[in-house]
Symmetry: C2
Amino acid sequence: MTVMLSACALAAAVRSGDLTPAEVAARCAAAINAREKEIRAFTALNLEAMQAGAQRAGLAATPLAGLPVGVKDVYDTVDFPTTYGSRIYAHHRPAADAAVVRMIARAGGLVPGKTTTTEFAFTAPATTRNPHRTGHTPGGSSSGSAAAVAAGMLPLAIGSQTAGSVIRPASFCGVTGFKPSFKLIPMLGSRTFSWSLDTLGLFAAGVEDVAFGASAITGRPLTVDPTARLPRLAVIRTPRASSASPDADAALTTAARAAEKGRATVREITLPPEVESADDAHAIVQGYEAALALADEWDRHRGQLSPQLVAYLEQATTVTPEAYDAARRVTRLARNAFADLVEGFDAVLTYSAPGEAPEGLASTGSSIFNRLWTLLGAPCVNVAGLTGASGLPIGVQIVGRFGRDRAALTAAAFVEKAIRAA
Amino acid sequence: MTVMLSACALAAAVRSGDLTPAEVAARCAAAINAREKEIRAFTALNLEAMQAGAQRAGLAATPLAGLPVGVKDVYDTVDFPTTYGSRIYAHHRPAADAAVVRMIARAGGLVPGKTTTTEFAFTAPATTRNPHRTGHTPGGSSSGSAAAVAAGMLPLAIGSQTAGSVIRPASFCGVTGFKPSFKLIPMLGSRTFSWSLDTLGLFAAGVEDVAFGASAITGRPLTVDPTARLPRLAVIRTPRASSASPDADAALTTAARAAEKGRATVREITLPPEVESADDAHAIVQGYEAALALADEWDRHRGQLSPQLVAYLEQATTVTPEAYDAARRVTRLARNAFADLVEGFDAVLTYSAPGEAPEGLASTGSSIFNRLWTLLGAPCVNVAGLTGASGLPIGVQIVGRFGRDRAALTAAAFVEKAIRAA
């Protein structure tokens, strides 16, 4: 299997002088040239510009040390076409970079190109293939970012999650996905699907790599805390556990046992009704907001939307302001109840996805184990390292408390290490 | 003085058949042709398209009954250039309409053009003049929307408020300004200055007019409640009362006495320290977010920013994530404390602005009596009807509880009527 590029290892090598940013860029360019034709992770690429940028003096001393960072094609870029995965925007060239694109540039990252997204980050798939088995979906909507990291083409990539669009593709592709607390990283200059849910996320090889990337881009102390005590983990299977395949269930059990073996405190708990019932609120909040977020395309370009998006928006436009307000109240209560529930734990350990990446490219899989946590705004990490019966990756998910992103990443790093040691 | 156009009266006349939408459009076009050269409220106009649109069958039966609605030039429009008040975007033409522009169209409103904004809705003024005395500022940042309504050119216009950009120009121009609860109306497709503060607001002649417009555009029940009991009003002068001119203080006293005479319960209260201290948090939240919201322009087009914006952003980029997070915590505590404080009242009655519109067009005035309420996300209404010593308008402000927009509008309508009766 492909060797993934560790962002931490590459940055350390650049800092120590073992590698130059130009050599890192050349390595990524070579991997992209070798794999992209098969994986189809990018909608736009400019490897020459990346390699030219890597020559800039002082780059090695920047927070990102000149590492290449892929950007999902829902974020506006001046230097690349930005299609949002839609035919309507096939030739769209934004007037300004998204905030995160400027944050990457200011932190010394190099953007080689745009990674694929499903149509408007909803369900109509991109052309991207799962690097572990190309007849299988990489998951979505951040398909290209997950696949590019999995295929060893990039050490870091940016995605977004409205239901399960970071954690699911990370699980399917066997990479680390990190969906921070809601609004930790600004979505400005991204294509909105649901303004209460859309959350900027990152992909990297391992937990330390994704934490390094998030720290470097935001200037916040998010790297794994080496002084943290052994974590107290709450295993949650949720009433939706019947949707988990035996593979997913086995992965969760394996991870929980490995954590216990590593001397973590592990206790299985159930969600109280106030939290569980919020799962239904996700669809209402997303529907109401998507109908407004796509109002222009619905009114002017309906014929260029996919049939599944048209069908979705037809339903979505029937959500009333009253139903929306009620769903937001349910959400507020669920956030408080979840905070109370996990008082006394460092993180929740739960499913990332229903199983291995499904065969075929027509569907990107289910977000059933993701949407509740997105609605709660909680930080989520897909921890890779386990596989299902057919040998494809299958992740487990760490969910933290809102605003405690570093604690979530630290717990995820513990579980990752425990899985490797088991 | 100019007679303003009442949205309610015009819509009623259209519904009853006394006026056609085409006649309303013609009346607005005539007023714009007569006054615009002097007032300079618009950055783009297409009166022919508005009048052609007014011929559409069925328009009279729509929620907005074909009324013209001005749109501040921070909202994206496909049909008009969108400059955000910046030279950088002098020739910018967005690919999609802002959500509110589609909401207006779906509700049967006609957009005749874009109204002026200060540069990126910050402080560098537009060319607009106060219709009451053209050597005075109309206020900002929603300068054109306030002035267009005040000059009788439009019955409704859309603005936005990050500190005081709806309530202040409404006070200076003698119109009703309504800043709803945060996120009541989506900001999608607007130029962001601060994503935690930017709030879409409306201007109209009177309180019932603005409530009609908000109801029609959102599909929410926001019209003034005729069955409401006599309001219980909390008068708040705030520790910043020393910034209020004798005119502003007299207006607040007059409004409070008029409300008492109208049999409202009126009681003066003071803000607790948790709420008062949040006033300082506004600058920190706005600064941190503006530095990211304008990252592209700062990095690429700094020479085309105004000196005051450059000076502001130089400061703003020094706000740390830690200071920002602390300011957001202060904000959360203040929101809860404010909700507790006004338990037992229907609304707060306070200053809208420090006084009459200042002379000169170089400054749009101070937001000292607005920014705290914006930070709290509370619904605010400028109630017009009073004047200062020099005869210029001076408003008073109704502040409601978060999410209780109809109650705030209803209290504002009561105060407006009481002022007229006094």
